[in-house]
C-alpha cells in the first residue's frame, strides 16, 4: 500500500565513495549509499561486511578516510554524534545506549529537559514522557529507573528517545536482536508511522522475515564493498542470502573433504549433547553428536544461536539443562576449565573482547591456555615456552617482530593465528572455532582453512562457524543449521550445497510471520 508510495522520492542522504581503514583491515571500500525520506532501507551483510562502520561514519563516530556525504544536496562533514543529531540523524544501537541509573523520563529527555524558571520541571517531563510512551504503546513508567526494565523495553525507550529529537533520518542498528515477536511488531508499527511522516530509516537486522515485512529497499554489503541496492519486492530471499554470503567461490586451490558419513558407523562420538541448553534462553535445547576426524559447520545468520550453542558446549555459557557426554562418559561442564580438561578448545567469536590479552606478548598469549590447564605451580619453563612460541609462529606463519612483541601491535589475522596457536598448543581433541577467519585477509583465510582440514585428518573433531558460506562448504563434512535460536537441521553429504543451505537458513519464502 503505502510501501511503494515513497519510493519515488529523490534520495536525501547520498554517500559516495566511502572508504575507511582500521589498522590491518580495510573496513569500507568505495561504498555508495542512498537514503530517501519516507523509506525503510535495510542494510544487510554478514559479519565484517561493514554495515556498522558505514553507519558510524555517517553518524560521525568515525572520521572517514575518503568519500563524500551530501544531505539534501548539500555536502556536509559530520564530526560527532551531536553533529549528526543537529543534521537530523539519530541512531539507536544494538546495545542500549542509555543511562541505567536514571529514570525512563530522564533518559527520554536528557539534555532537553522541560524547564520552568530554569529548573527541570519533573512533573511536566514525566507527563510528556508518559504521553510519548503511550503514543508509542510502550508500557513503561516514566518515573521508574531504566534498569528495572527488560532490555527489550529499554531498546524501545531508546527508539522513543531518538524519535523524540527532531529527526529526519533514523538509524536502527540491530534494535530487534533481543526483542520478542510482539515487541518487534510494536516497533514496526512505530517505524511505519515514522516512515509515513517522512522519516528516512536505515534498518540493520539479521532477521530476513523482518526485512521482508517492513523494508522498502535493501542495500547489501560484503567484505566492506557494495554488492548492490535492490527493491525488496524484486529480490527473493534466496537471492538476498546469496548476495550476502557471496556466491562465487574464490579461486583457491581445491580442498577435498571426505563427506562419507558412513565411516562413523559404530564409532563412539567424541561429543554428545542431549537436550542441552544454556541459561537465559540463549539457545533452545539441542542434540548434537560429533565424531573424531570430522569438521562440523554451524551455520545460520548472526544471532541465530550458532555461537551460543558452541559456547554452551564449552561451558562459557553455563548449561542449565540436558546431558553432556564426552567419549561416552557423562560429564558436567560448569566452567571453561572443565571443558579444557576434557580436551576441548574454544576460539571465541569476538577476538578483542574474549580472545587477546592486548598488553601481553605473543609468547604469553600463546602459552596462557596451556599454562592455565597445567596449573599455577607447574610453570612451563621459559625455554620450552619460547620453543613452543617459535614452533607455532613457524607453523602458522605468524608475522611478528619477535615473540616478546605485545599482541596488540599485530594485525588482526596474526592475532587470530596467535589465538589459534594458543589452542593448538593444548593439543585438544575437540576444537570449537567461532569465526576464525573473520576480518582477516584472503591468504590467511585459506591457510586457516587448510589447517582445519589438516587437524581433522589428524583425527581431531572440529566445530566450525563462519559467516562465509563457501568457506564452510569447502571445509565441513556436515552442517548444523540454526535459525532463531533453534537447531533447524543437519545437512550431510548430498544436501551439502549452497542452495540447500541458504534455503534452510532463510526458512523458505512461503514461511510467514515475524520471528
Amino acid at each position: 500500500m503505502s510501501k511503494t508510495k515513497n519510493l519515488q522520492n529523490p534520495p536525501s542522504v547520498i554517500m559516495t565513495g566511502i572508504g575507511k581503514s582500521f589498522p590491518g583491515v580495510r573496513a569500507l571500500n568505495q561504498v555508495d549509499f542512498k537514503l530517501r525520506r519516507g523509506e525503510i532501507h535495510a542494510l544487510m551483510g554478514e559479519n565484517g561486511a561493514g554495515k556498522s562502520t558505514l553507519v558510524k561514519v555517517l553518524t560521525g563516530v568515525y572520521p572517514m578516510d575518503e568519500g563524500k556525504v551530501r544531505l539534501d544536496g548539500v555536502p556536509v562533514v559530520i564530526r560527532s554524534p551531536q553533529d549528526a543529531q543537529k543534521h537530523g540523524i539519530s541512531t539507536v544501537y544494538q546495545e542500549v545506549n542509555l543511562c541505567p541509573n536514571l529514570s525512563v523520563a530522564e533518559n527520554l529527555f536528557l539534555g532537553r529537559e522541560p524547564r520552568s524558571m530554569g529548573l527541570i520541571d519533573w512533573r511536566k517531563m514525566n507527563l510528556k514522557a508518559s504521553e510519548l510512551l503511550q503514543k508509542l504503546n510502550i508500557s513503561a513508567n516514566p518515573t521508574a529507573q531504566l534498569d528495572s526494565y527488560s532490555i527489550a523495553i529499554q531498546q524501545m525507550i531508546a527508539i522513543a528517545r531518538a524519535i523524540n529529537t527532531e529527526c529526519a533520518f533514523l538509524i536502527l542498528d540491530e534494535p530487534t536482536s533481543s526483542l520478542d515477536a510482539d515487541e518487534v511488531n510494536k516497533i514496526f508499527t512505530l517505524m511505519r508511522q515514522l516512515r509515513d511522516n517522512g522519516v528516512g530509516i536505515i534498518f540493520i537486522t539479521h532477521f530476513l522475515e523482518q526485512v521482508y515485512e517492513i523494508c522498502d529497499r535493501i542495500t547489501v554489503l560484503r567484505n566492506g564493498e557494495l554488492v548492490g541496492e535492490y527493491e525488496v519486492d524484486k529480490l527473493s530471499r534466496f537471492e538476498l542470502v546469496t548476495k550476502m554470503m557471496g556466491k562465487e567461490i574464490e579461486n583457491l586451490s581445491e580442498l577435498s573433504v571426505d563427506r562419507d558419513e558412513s565411516r562413523f558407523q559404530g564409532e563412539e562420538p567424541i561429543i554428545e549433547a542431549r537436550a542441552l541448553s544454556s541459561g537465559s534462553k540463549k539457545v533452545a535445547p539441542f542434540d548434537l553428536k560429533m565424531y573424531r576426524g570430522e569438521v562440523v559447520g554451524f551455520s545460520g545468520l548472526l544471532g541465530s544461536g550458532r555461537s551460543e550453542l558452541v559456547r554452551t558446549v564449552y561451558g562459557a555459557d553455563k548449561p542449565v539443562q540436558g546431558q553432556f557426554f564426552i567419549r561416552g562418559k557423562n560429564v558436567r561442564i560448569r566452567k571453561p576449565l572443565d571443558a579444557m580438561k576434557q580436551g576441548m578448545a574454544y576460539l571465541p567469536e569476538d577476538r578483542k573482547v574474549d580472545g587477546i590479552f592486548p598488553e601481553l606478548s605473543v609468547r604469553e598469549n600463546i602459552i596462557i591456555a596451556l599454562q592455565a590447564k597445567t596449573g599455577m605451580f607447574k610453570r612451563i619453563r621459559r625455554k620450552e615456552m619460547e620453543k613452543y612460541a617459535d614452533q607455532y609462529i613457524d607453523l602458522l606463519n605468524i608475522k611478528t617482530a619477535n615473540i616478546e612483541t605485545p599482541i596488540k601491535s599485530l594485525s588482526g589475522g596474526n592475532q587470530q593465528k596467535v589465538i589459534l596457536a594458543r589452542w593448538l598448543l593444548t593439543n585438544p581433541e575437540f576444537m570449537i572455532l567461532d569465526e576464525p577467519t573473520r576480518g582477516i585477509d584472503v591468504g590467511t583465510k585459506t591457510e586457516i582453512q587448510r589447517l582445519i582440514l589438516k587437524l581433522a585428518s589428524e583425527n581431531k573433531s572440529i566445530a566450525f562457524i563462519s559467516s562465509e558460506m563457501d568457506e564452510m562448504i569447502r571445509t565441513c563434512s556436515r552442517m548444523v543449521v540454526m535459525r532463531d535460536r533453534h537447531k533447524v537441521g543437519e545437512l550431510t553429504q548430498g544436501n551439502l550445497d549452497q542452495s540447500t543451505i541458504i534455503r534452510t537458513i532463510a526458512g523458505g519464502d512461503n514461511e510467514d510471520g515475524a520471528v
Binding site: 590491518g24 590479552f357 601481553l360 604469553e364 596462557i368 608475522k399
Partner: protein, 371 residues
C-alpha cells in the same frame, strides 16, 4: 647500581626493545630521571655521598641509609603491585596489617608483659604467628573483593580504620618492648653480617616475589585477569581465586614489613607501625610506570618507584626540610612525574612539536604499528 641489578631481572615491561622512542614511551623513564636528579643533587651537595664506612660492624653512609629506609616500603610495594595488577584497585590497609602482624608476634614473645628479655615462645613461632595474622587480614580483604565484588579501596577501608585498634586489642592496649637482642636481628643486624638485615630482607622479598611471579605462573595469571577478565575466564583461569591470592600475598608481605619495622625499633607500638605507608606504596607503584587500573605490572618498576620516593624523602630531610612540609615537595614531584608520563600529555607535546616543525603527519600517525 641498584638499577642495573634489577634491569637484569626485568619485569615484562622492561623487555621492550631499547629503541630511543620506545624508551621515551616507557612510563618509568621519568621516575628514573627524578631518581637520577636526586642522586646527582646529593653528589653535589654532599661530597661524602658515595662514602661507605664500617661502623659498629655495619656498613653505613648515605646509600646504605637510603636502602635501609626504603626497605619496608619496598616490601609493602611488592604486595601492592600484585593487588593493583590483579584487581585494578588499591589496598589501603597495609599499614594497619603491619601493626597487626607485629602485635601478634609481640604477644607471643612477651606473653602479656610490657617488657621482656626472655621470649615466652620461640621467635620463629612468633614470626609465623604474625604472618598468619597478616595473611588472615589479607584473606579478609580478598574475600570482600573477590567474592562480594566490593571495590578494593572500600573493602580495605574497613581494616584501614579498624586495624590499628584491633592491633591494640591484641597487645592489651600497651606498647610492647622486646629487649632480647635477637629480636633486633630481623630489623637491624644479624651479628657478623655487615649489611643491615632490613636491606637483606627487602632484597630477599623482591627476589622471592620475582621467583613467585616467574617460577610459578602467578604473574601471568594476575596480568591476564587484570587485563582481560573475560578472556581469562575462557582460557580457564579463575579470577576470583587469583584476586584472592593477590590480597593474601599482599597481606603476608605487609606482615613481613610490620615485623621488620617493629624489630628495627625493638618495640611494638600499634599506633605507629607503618603509619601512612599505604599512600607511599601506591605512589611507588604508580611511579614505577604501572597502570593503577590493573593489568601489566613490573616488579622492577615498583622497586625503582619505591627507591625514588625514599630518595626524595631522605634528600629532603638532609636539606633540612621539616618532616611535615615534606609532603608539599613530594606532591609536586609526583604530580610532575605522573603528568609527564601520561598519554594525553605526550600527545599534546607531540602535537606541539609537530606544529612547530610543521611536519604534515596524518592524524592516525601516532599508532604506527599497522602491520
Amino acid at each position: 647500581m641498584k638499577m642495573g641489578l634489577f634491569n637484569d631481572r626485568k619485569g615484562p615491561a622492561m623487555l621492550s626493545p631499547s629503541a630511543g622512542k620506545k624508551l621515551l614511551n616507557n612510563r618509568l623513564i621519568f621516575s628514573l630521571l627524578v631518581l637520577m636528579v636526586v642522586v646527582v643533587q646529593n653528589i653535589i651537595t654532599t661530597p661524602n655521598f658515595f662514602e661507605i664506612t664500617m661502623t659498629n660492624g655495619l656498613l653505613s653512609g648515605y646509600i646504605p641509609n637510603i636502602l635501609d629506609e626504603a626497605s619496608e616500603l619496598i616490601i609493602v610495594t611488592m604486595g601492592m603491585t600484585l593487588v593493583i595488577a590483579a584487581s585494578g584497585g588499591v589496598d589501603l590497609s597495609v599499614g594497619p596489617i603491619m601493626a597487626i602482624a607485629a602485635s601478634f608476634c609481640g604477644l607471643l614473645l612477651n606473653g602479656s608483659e610490657y617488657r621482656t628479655d626472655v621470649y615466652h615462645s620461640p621467635y620463629f613461632l612468633a614470626i609465623l604467628f604474625g604472618l598468619v595474622g597478616a595473611a588472615l587480614c589479607g584473606a579478609f580483604n580478598g574475600f570482600l573483593v573477590s567474592r562480594l565484588k566490593i571495590q578494593p579501596m572500600i573493602a580495605t577501608l574497613i581494616l584501614f580504620t579498624a586495624g590499628r585498634s584491633i592491633a591494640k586489642q591484641i597487645t592489651h592496649g600497651q606498647t610492647i618492648y622486646i629487649m632480647n637482642p635477637t629480636y633486633k636481628w630481623l630489623g637491624v643486624q644479624i651479628p657478623g653480617i655487615p649489611i643491615r638485615t632490613t636491606i637483606l630482607v627487602s632484597i630477599a622479598i623482591v627476589i622471592l616475589v620475582v621467583l613467585l611471579v616467574k617460577l610459578t605462573s602467578l604473574g601471568l595469571y594476575i596480568q591476564s585477569v587484570g587485563i582481560n577478565g573475560s578472556a581469562a575466564r575462557l582460557v580457564g583461569l579463575n579470577s576470583r581465586v587469583i584476586k584472592f591470592m593477590a590480597f593474601v600475598i599482599c597481606g603476608i608481605l605487609a606482615g613481613v614489613a610490620g615485623l621488620v619495622s617493629s624489630s628495627s625499633v625493638g618495640s611494638v607500638n600499634s599506633g605507629e607501625l607503618g603509619l601512612s605507608i599505604e599512600m607511599d606504596a601506591i605512589l611507588a607503584v604508580a611511579l614505577g610506570g604501572n597502570n593503577l587500573g590493573g593489568g601489566k605490572f613490573s616488579i622492577a618498576g615498583s622497586v625503582i618507584g619505591a627507591y625514588t620516593i625514599q630518595a626524595i624523602t631522605t634528600t629532603l630531610y638532609a636539606m633540612n626540610v621539616r618532616a611535615d612540609q615534606l609532603n608539599v615537595f613530594k606532591a609536586i614531584i609526583i604530580i610532575v612525574i605522573i603528568v609527564a608520563s601520561s598519554e594525553v600529555f605526550k600527545e599534546k607535546v607531540n602535537r606541539l612539536f609537530r606544529h612547530i616543525t610543521k611536519k604534515n603527519v596524518p592524524v592516525g600517525g601516532l599508532s604506527d604499528e599497522r602491520q
